[in-house]
């Protein structure tokens, strides 16, 4: 089996890592929108003139890197493991169940935009 067998693992890991990265602000780098500067890890601009700090790109990078690492571990496992675990029903459904769950977590985390949170 080719490297493609771990693609579902990547998708599951990415979704989980992304929501963790966003909630804990584990950004691999920060982009300052107005200044157009990149800074490693989480960076807070000293003055507002640099514009808002954007962490979204950094969260994507963190999640992608982590998901690649987890996929590499999965790839190192014997190929028949894939057929018995994440590619076998019902575990293959984690490919969409986990992202859907993560999306609901985002709705919960961002509820403050829509309702008053005590």
């Amino acid at each position: 089996m080719s490297v493609a067998r771990v693609f579902p693992v990547f998708s599951i890991a990415f979704a989980v890592l992304y929501v963790l990265a966003m909630d804990n602000n584990w950004a691999l780098f920060t982009y300052l929108a107005r200044a157009g500067e990149f800074h490693p890890l989480v960076y807070t601009p000293p003055t507002p003139r640099a514009g808002p700090a954007m962490y979204w790109y950094g969260w994507l990078a963190t999640s992608a890197l982590g998901a690649v690492a987890i996929s590499a571990i999965a790839y190192a496992l014997p190929p028949y493991w894939a057929k018995r675990t994440w590619l076998a029903a019902p575990w293959s459904h984690l490919s969409w169940v986990v992202p859907v769950a993560v999306m609901f977590v985002f709705v919960y985390l961002l509820r403050g935009w829509f309702i008053r949170v005590a």
Partner: protein, 156 residues
């Protein structure tokens, strides 16, 4: 420049929305194998769904890349404007959009895997669900992007 990129971003989204809607309807509601003439709606569903997969992946990556390039302009110009108007819900739906885009990006490898030829019959349900989820993400993002652009839009 930002306006040009926004237009390309929107065009890519439209192409992707069409392809993904064709594919999603064809797997969730397959057209009957009728020999005679089909209705327009049945014809819409009677497509070779697997043929769309690679194009959808490319269009999703292109749309997300273009969106990420113009995102700073939104962050500086539009979000502040929405905050000034106290349009919390508008900001909230965009926050969800950015995270749903990321979830969709992460979903692409699994989506591509389950649409690989020859299609694995044991993954038919997973394939349907992953496709439906990606379609839901793209529809949500398209509508939110369009509405927010209508609220403020780019430009001076």
């Amino acid at each position: 420049m930002t306006t040009t990129l926004l237009i390309f971003h929107g065009l890519c989204a439209v192409f992707m929305l069409g392809a993904l809607t064709h594919q999603t309807l064809s797997v969730w509601w397959p057209a009957p194998a009728a020999a005679g003439p089909r209705s327009m709606f049945a014809s819409f569903r009677a497509v070779r769904a697997a043929a769309y997969a690679n194009t959808i992946v490319v269009l999703y990556v292109m749309t997300a890349t273009l969106g990420s390039i113009i995102y700073p302009a939104y962050r500086i110009g539009i979000r502040v404007f929405l905050e000034d108007l106290r349009l919390g819900s508008a900001n909230g739906v965009f926050e969800l959009k950015e995270h749903f885009v990321a979830v969709g990006l992460g979903l692409l490898p699994a989506y591509w895997y389950y649409w690989r030829q020859p299609l694995a019959p044991e993954h038919a349900l997973t394939r349907k669900a992953v496709t439906g989820l990606l379609a839901a993400i793209v529809w949500y993002n398209f509508i939110v992007g369009h509405v927010l652009n209508s609220i403020r839009g780019f430009g001076p």
